[in-house]
Amino acid sequence: MDSIKYQTLDANEAVARVAYRLSEVIAIYPITPASAMGEYADAWAADGQHNLWGTTPDVVEMQSEGGAAGAVHGALTAGALTTTFTASQGLLLMLPDLFKIAGELTCFCLHVAARTVATHALSIFGDHSDVMAARGTGLALLASNSAQEAQDLAAIGHAATLLARVPVLHFFDGFRTSHEISKVAVLEDDVLMQLIDPDALRAHRARALDPDHPVIRGTSQNPDAYFQSREAVEPFYARCPSVIDDMMARFATLTGRRYHLFDYVGHPEAERIVILMGSGAECAHETVEHLMAQGERVGVLKVRLFRPFSVEHFISALPSSVKAIAVLDRTKEPGSVGEPLLLEITSALVEATARGTRASLPRIIGGRYGLSSKEFTPAMVKAIFDELSRDSAKTRFTVGIRDDVSGSSIEIDQSFDIEADDVSRAVFYGLGSDGTVSANKATIKIIGEETAGFAQGHFEYDSRKAGSTTISYLRFGPRPIRSTYRIQRAQFVAIHDPEFLERRDVLATAMPGATVLINTPIAADRIWDVLPIEVQSQLIDRHCRLFVVDGYGVAERAGLDRRINTVMQTCFFALSKVLPLDEAMRHIQKSVEETFGRRGPEVVRRNIVALESALEAMSEVTLPTQISTTRSRPLSVPADAPDFVQRVTRLLIEGHGDALPVSAFPPDGCWPTGTSRYEKRAIALDIPIWQPDVCVQCNFCSMICPHAAIRTKVFSPAALEGAPAGFRAVPESFDPELEGLLYAVQVAPEDCTGCGLCIEVCPAKDRLQPRRKALVSEPLAEHRERERESFKFFEGIESAPLAALPIDKRSAPLRPPYFEFSGACAGCGETPYIRLLTQLFGDRLVIANATGCSSIYGGNLPTTPYTTDRHGRGPAWSNSLFEDNAEFGLGMRLAIDVQAGRARSLLTAMRGSLPSPLVDALLSAPVDDSWVESQRARLEELSRLLQNDPSADARALLDLIHHLVPRSVWIVGGDGWAYDIGYGGLDHVLASHKKVNILVLDTEVYSNTGGQQSKATPIGAAAKFATAGKSIRKKDLGLLAMSYGHVYVAEVAMQAKSAQTVRAFLEAEQHPGPSIIIAHSPCIAHGYDLVNAPAQQRRAIESGVWPLYRFDPRRVDQGEAPLQLDSGEPHLDVADYMTNEARFRMVELRSPERYATLLQAARDGVAQRRALYEQLSHIHLPPEKHDG
């Protein structure tokens, strides 16, 4: 063995490196937390990196995991070494092919970053529910517990499957292992090569479907043949454990690292043991060692090969002394006798006992732990061992939560702590955009690769895309680190933004004597008095040392804006002393050069300036011995928030959700809406301040705001009574219909993200100081109090009736939004469409939402943005899956129609006993908003009448009466759903006559998973899986929809042309059949500052890249062409549009020739599409002949 080479990697990268080198075809589809494996493979392939056999693997992105599995199956059938990566629903979509692949005894290794399968809610985090759902497929299930193991078992999986002919599903825990960075002894090519058996490889290739020696596979079999031939695989499964064990032994001779099918750690004569698989086993390992040192006879059995389960290997790994066993499953199978591992272990022990291999059956209990990455700590392991000692141990239990509903949970001693003193532990609170996580990754790399020490980094992110919080947990120590749980006691705590001190208990983990570093512009001699009382007392009680650094100041002076990563990294090394300072500085400089070198010398230079000036800007605060303030941390939700928000939401916001018991939660995933308003995040540095003297009352600001954080309203002057001093309003002067009323523009200061779009689009300028618009950007700190009071008052003002006004781009934004303060990115191009949708139909809106950005900002806890009006009405929203959203929405429509139909029949049947004019009016066709309003009044009357009618029909009608107000059903999702994974369903729904509206928020990439190409990605754009620039035109989804003839289709771009957007929304809703609106949605993945999105969207329209049109089938009956073009002849070169976005520019910088070719193809595409649309807009179709 050569000297071992170490690198700091997470499991995703470590596994991808192995899988890439051992594959020829890689078919992928992005899904959290496995996306990174595919992205690495794609990037390496784009760079032309070779596999072990000197070829570049063909990396192909499919339209879904189902598609990826199909391509994998095909590639395997035709003889290629093939792999893929997935998780959760992705794995579920692969299941049919996996059954086939295993049934055909195909050599294949699949890598899964195990993730929770969506049930009552989606969760991106880790558990084994996905893998366990695949255990019937016939794939071998191989579990890794750390990045090192994931790399090693990946190699073993690829090598063993060739010999075993049983395909392998290799898995490791999502996030905890897939994203945790640690020091990995990397596998070199020669080791991998020695693992692969050349004869087995040859045999795999020889089995390829080949017309030179044809066979037929995939036959259909009848009862006479199927059963026997299914049983014919049995010898392969019987042999498989030994083949894998042999491969593990072979691996050990090459690397020195010996794995077994079951690895036992603990007392050789243990009496109590826990059995589990995955990262939790490392925590158990660490705890067992600790307890053994205290003389306890305990042990842990780590299951590596769950299937095929080898009873023989299991029994020989299990100490015969064991008296009690706790089997831990990281999944829940409701209604089962026990979870899968428990059942398997129990059966194995029963069988072994029955055969006499074991003398007696130990006591076996089973527990669930760690669902959706719930913490699993040494204290929990200890609690399980304690439970095993109890006479009346729970046979089925949960650990890690407080189950006050079913009483399943076991008690934990929270003070139990086994962290060693020689391990440095540091916790960092950062803003998503400030570089904290990147800096910490660099720090781990320095320690992991430049020293003999070991390092571990684990990172947590909240679900907000603007102003998000990150928490980094770093450990450094002399031994490999097995602590697969959060740091409980840190010697170093860094608070990278002073706002955190006001928002959460950031010192919760600071241990006595801890060093605390705060990034703040406030000087050391003034900081103490501004700290809240909680922080002051923690610092004093725990005898902490406190340091401050003006990181933002240093970064800004170095020309890095607010990017403080280098500054804070330098301060960390200086204070933590994990390395001598000069050595650390040298390493940081080298790391800056390596990381940023390719981005240009100026980037490196500025970071080095920041590095060199960091320590001068840091100083220690002399701590007083007494607290000096009475000011507490502000309430995280207002005191007047509803009870549920106070009891549940507040704790989730404060980061204490783990403490909530089972009873706090709705059992079926139904949550109250409209909670985002209680989470006042105040993330903007500057907010827009209204200048009424300049304002022209156009409402552009409220129309474009992605967060509904700037609002406009027209109201009666009488409403001004009781207005706070700072509230401003002016006479309405835009619309003669509204004469005599007042008008106000009001910002929600604590909900604004500071994106600046409202100011950007404001057309009004002070003629004496043109720089002063009707909105000016001012520091939040100066205006927060006044604007907060004003907004509160503004919200309470009743809007003047707007029914008399036509709904257009000016009046729509005056209507109340039912979608507000979401966690979407600052400047998000999607959310304004949703906000507008709610302003038009919010009180009767039903939304089916595909998984993606819009389901995350639309429905991710702790707070959600869909809200209600003063009548309690508002959008009813649900997310089913990524792939089924169109069908999901259609189902809703069917249900609504059936109930509305029943209500109408009952009403018709009761005509005799009700006033005829009322019945006629109730059954009249809906016209507009005022019709809806009158209908509601009629329903009140009907309800009153029915109350007195004891008949069964009356009772039944009363239950359905609300369905007499028509529901507006909208199916909302992104382009990944509409163009790719959900296209089949979307197409099918369009091919119906059902009245559903489809809104495609087209960002032209998979935004939520990090910008992977979709079929909506335009030609010439770089995206993940299209690193060199996409070479195929964007799919013309609108044209495909138009081809049906009966579908209303529109393409819109509201930041530039909101009038057309409003028209399209209204027409879509009026259209009696299905409609689809494709909405241009600027996104951070396009690579420019989104404050420029309106101008850039205008360029998209003017260059013809994004034509605006409406295709209305009803026009055919009027003798008109159904297609109307709403944007003129392109008059801007496509290049002038493309050059402003990094996604295009990076293609140009990488290869000007390729860019030139793609640009020309883009120009050609625009010209051809325009020509086609021009012709379509002039065609005349014969009207359809309607029966009767």
């Binding site: 996306s35 890095l560 939520n1008 910088l1149």
Partner: protein, 336 residues
Amino acid sequence: MADLTTTWLGLTLKSPLVVAASPLSNDVEAIAAAVSAGAGAIIMHSLFEEQLIEEQMGAHRFLDARTDMDAEARTFLPDVDVFSMGAEPYLAQMEKLRQRVDVPVIASLNGTTPGGWTDYARQIEAHGASAIELNLYEIATSADISGTAIEDMQLRVVESIVSLVKLPVTVKLSPFYASLPAFVRRLQSAGAKGVSVFNRFYQPDIDLDELDVDRHLVFSNSSELPLRLHALAILSTTTPISIGCTGGVHSGGDAAKAILSGAHVVQLASVLLEHGPAYIEVISHELNQWLDEKGYTSSAEARGVLALNSAPNPHAWERLNYVRILDGWKPRTSRR
């Protein structure tokens, strides 16, 4: 047919007609066409230090602020290491031009800080440029910085480049110097081997509807030539270094005027952008024709014959001439 050979910055060129720094050099085939039409050298479009830095920092800020901020997405664009944010694309283009044409390729640098220039100048030299044209300009907007201070800074920039590279360095100047000859002499002492007059700028305009300032670059025309001729006539007698004319040359006649005023080279951009790179042949033909008509056997022979010290009436280049032109001007309304 007169001999058009000229010496400029120590380089021997087959013609004084040179492709000026312009977007033309982005297109290898256009440059090849210009060379086969007679161009004596190619000056590449400017490598704008400011723009590079802005783009580098913009991309860096953008990519970095979107890295490691979200549980589901490590980044939002493909890994940045696969594309270049430095001078590489410029250098690669220079390589391509050098391989495609057999005339000297001169790099053009436009920078603002002494540090930034030097890195790029070194790389340009390493990639085989025949010379460097420094594009010096400073829009003075501060009342606290004197003209002398700006000139001193510009000289430091030139000195730093000259000391770092062995290549000849020429400086493209703006017209806004109180004493152009004195400044050129200081440039010469700083090691510059040539100057070109004059740089052209974006023309700010006022948008009356939007109450805003609008900028755009318009093509030059022959009316801009006299300002250049005047400077050439003076510089050719006050400095021994190479001088080039840039801006306003649209015909062979214009080129002849510049040469008569002392230009070693005549740089062409707008005319080629308007009429195509092959139009250089027309200009070359006109120049030749004029030289032949006047009996000059070479363009070198005609160079500087109307400069300040050799013109029949040297005062014509001096201030007196300005007064006379004014005297001769009559309001349009009074003309018939």
